[in-house]
């Protein structure tokens, strides 16, 4: 089971700003990239203008392996928005690089999700203008 959408209502588009544009450009090309500080190598998410470790403003978008584990998750039994059909789960995935990403799972029931579950990134082309990075269980 994957996320069910009500096609009558568009999924809210991610607001794109200069600081996060690289992430969404990558997703559109089916690449999961995160900000990485050019000076100290720290992986940064969510994206921001400067590195909180070394204060450098020099960053680059670096590819992630897309592999990680479920760090936490919730299951919406009531939907807060008509685009999303409840029940559905939202996961917080901790990637190998150490950053965490809010996302959804595919091919799994909410009851089967657990903290520590190994997952890998997949890309869901929801509509012509929107691709989302999602995760599926590994193994």
């Amino acid at each position: 089971m994957s996320m069910a959408y009500d096609t009558e209502h568009p999924v809210p588009m991610p607001p794109i700003l200069w600081d996060n544009k690289g992430f969404w450009d990558g997703v559109k090309k089916h690449e999961l990239v995160f900000q990485r500080c050019k000076q100290c190598g720290t992986w940064l998410h969510p994206p921001r203008p400067a590195c909180p470790r070394c204060r450098s403003f020099e960053k680059e978008w670096s590819p992630s392996t897309g592999k990680g584990t479920v760090y936490s998750f919730v299951t919406y039994r009531e939907s807060p928005h008509p685009a999303f059909k409840a029940p559905y789960s939202v996961v917080l995935v901790e990637l190998e690089e150490g950053v965490r990403l809010v996302s959804n799972m595919i091919d799994i029931k909410p009851e089967q999700i657990y903290i520590g579950m190994p997952v890998e990134a997949v890309f869901d082309d929801i509509s012509e203008g929107l691709t989302l990075p999602k995760f599926r269980k590994v193994g």
């Binding site: 700003l17 996060n20 919406y76």
Partner: protein, 393 residues
């Protein structure tokens, strides 16, 4: 020139006003604010001409000038705002700083919401046109995945807390049960004579797992105001003065507006820990000295976490501390939210918690703690936080 070391004992709350809680006030927030300010002034034995400072919550619907114009106040020399759920204790801190430095003499702190009737909406931060850059940078990674409710964002942290400390969601029920017990004794609250049992809690439906309907607040219409002046002036006023003994705000790194997901650990409330250390040190007391607490119960599961972070018990023991309710009930070793708080009185974004602390020290609570001399207030669990230790002499 001498430097003030801190604001301990420099300021006192001398007047309080609070409306009843309802689902539809049939009034503007401005009207409710003006009425509660009038009540707070009457309570203190002051008049509108005495007021020269106002402190408000950023999102509050009533701006300062609307209040001065409506109420015929004189010249203000001090006004400003505090943000988020952390506002209530922080507003008292700001007001205390204002009078302690002589910038103003009598400062009113106020808050009103038509949260239930939405007769006039609280400005929504949830439409992209109005959102700040910082909020947009969070929203961009939440909204497309359907992570769109405040309860959902809180639930993510609660799940991790349960995982790390081996907690079953049924165990969170005692905080809402006790808050409603206290609220059931409070005639001006939303839930007067409406307690519920632990069985009712366990039957309550899951809205966003692991949170049940009864784990978090319902919107309400209500308003409250309080008056602060110097400890010196307080001596000559009508009511028993309630002194600000400790006051602090905290914001730590890797913070988002609410519920930071990107810190090394997300299962605690580090801001609350900082607030606790600072207010206990300023007041020169320890958790054992506190007679009752008014904690942020917008989300019940954050209460055990606050008890841990503030030093009332060890990490991971907050749920056990609340288990069965005997310690946190009126009459227990650390009564919690004696007016009912957000879960049992109504949701006024934490302002009612400050008002109740004052009532306890004055001895006029509907769930009065015997000889309440020191009361701790915490505002803003799961976000930038603030807190107070208030005391009588």
């Amino acid at each position: 020139m001498s430097v003030m070391r801190n604001i301990k004992n420099k300021a006192a709350i001398v007047g309080i006003g609070i409306s009843s809680f309802s689902r539809d006030s049939q009034q503007t927030e401005l009207r409710m604010v003006c009425e509660t300010i009038k009540a707070a002034l009457d309570d203190a034995g002051l008049t509108t001409e005495d007021i020269d400072g106002l402190v408000k919550q950023t999102d509050d619907a009533s701006d300062e000038h609307a209040i001065t114009s409506s109420m015929g106040m004189g010249n203000l020399t001090y006004f400003g705002e505090c943000r988020w759920g952390a506002a209530p204790s922080a507003m008292v801190m700001r007001a205390a700083m204002g009078v302690a430095t002589g910038t103003a003499s009598y400062i009113v702190v106020y808050r009103a919401v038509n949260g239930s009737s939405k007769r006039r909406m609280i400005p929504s931060m949830r439409t992209s046109g109005q959102m700040s850059t910082s909020d947009l940078l969070q929203w961009t990674f939440h909204a497309p995945f359907g992570h769109m409710s405040e309860a959902g964002r809180v639930a993510m942290v609660v799940r991790r807390y349960m995982h790390e400390f081996g907690i079953d969601s049924n165990q969170f029920g005692w905080v809402p049960v006790v808050c409603r017990e206290h609220g059931a004794q409070n005639p001006s609250g939303m839930y007067y004579k409406k307690p519920f049992t632990i069985e009712d809690y366990r039957k309550s439906e899951m809205v966003v797992e692991p949170l049940r309907r009864l784990d978090y607040y319902e919107e309400a219409d209500a308003a409250a105001a309080l008056v602060i002046t110097t400890a010196e002036r307080a001596k000559d006023l009508k009511q028993k003065a309630v002194y600000v003994l400790g006051a602090a705000q905290s914001m730590v790194p890797e913070t988002e507006e609410q519920n930071s997901y990107y810190r090394r650990s997300i299962s605690g409330l580090p801001e609350m820990s900082h607030v606790g250390k600072k207010i206990f040190s300023m007041a020169g007391v320890t958790p054992k000295d506190i007679n009752c607490v008014q904690l942020d119960d917008s989300y019940g599961p954050f209460v055990p976490m606050q008890l841990e972070e503030l030093g009332f018990c060890h990490r991971g023991e907050g749920v056990d501390f609340c288990n069965g309710g005997s310690r946190i009930r009126s009459g227990g070793e650390l009564p919690l939210n004696t007016s009912g708080g957000s879960l049992g009185e109504g949701h006024l974004y934490g302002m009612n918690h400050v008002i109740e602390a004052v009532r306890q020290i004055r001895g006029i609570s509907t769930a009065q703690v015997k000889n309440a001399r020191l009361v701790l207030v915490a505002s803003g669990a799961g976000s930038p936080a603030s807190g107070l230790i208030l005391g009588g002499k």
